[in-house]
Symmetry: C2
Subunit: 129 residues, 2 copies
């Protein structure tokens, strides 16, 4: 059976995708795919997602230019999560960080921001407006 | 503000947690936490989750002995996903594999099982029955 037909999309037709840097292993982001986004991703080799806020298909990097070239696609034992290993152009996070996971829980139970910032989101996302 | 109070649990009171091997970086599994599971995890240093099928708090490894010692907890820009870096005892997957992501999409669009199997689930999960 084709890989895509084994996937279990949820009641809203979506499946979460964990996105990991193919070289260094850093977890960059988690996004959602519908079947169309998965098909486009597999056909083009570029990560596409479904935006739950904008309710539409979304090519990662369509505005910022920060595309994700997909090197490997995996699914888990329940087939209800995807894992993408990608080559990330610049940063994955719309706030300018390499990874969306730029906050960690500190030893005192507070929050520490320790991510690597690669670009100024005001410049990258402002340029088409 | 305490880290836990910044987290955005969904309408069902849950947040997904991506679990990554602290040393090698392999993504091991994705599970769900409610606030109680997060509190227990942070207090004990051992990963606890909320089982959506059994509708109860669950200490990872409570039956198998395959505990996860939590070395780092992160959240993403939207604060609606957790990333746990753990020391995994034996395998994370209930099917006996080191990672739940033991299936990848092959070049022909089919499915390839290439995970590392560390234990026989029939022996590990059968022993208390």
């Amino acid at each position: 059976m084709p890989f895509i037909d084994e996937l279990k999309f949820d009641a809203a037709g979506l499946i979460p995708a964990v996105v990991q840097d193919a070289a260094g292993g850093e977890v960059l982001m988690v996004a959602w795919m519908d079947r169309q986004a998965a098909e486009r991703t597999f056909a083009t080799g570029l990560a596409h997602y479904y935006s739950r806020s904008r309710k539409k298909l979304w090519l990662k990097g369509e505005e910022s230019g920060h595309l994700q070239k997909v090197r490997e696609v995996r699914t888990d034992c329940d087939r209800d999560v995807l894992l993408l290993k990608v080559e990330q152009q610049s940063g994955a996070c719309h706030e300018g960080y390499r990874s969306c996971f730029f906050r960690r829980r500190g030893d005192d139970g507070g929050t520490v921001e320790d991510g690597v910032r690669l670009f100024d989101p005001g410049k990258v996302y402002g340029r088409k407006k």
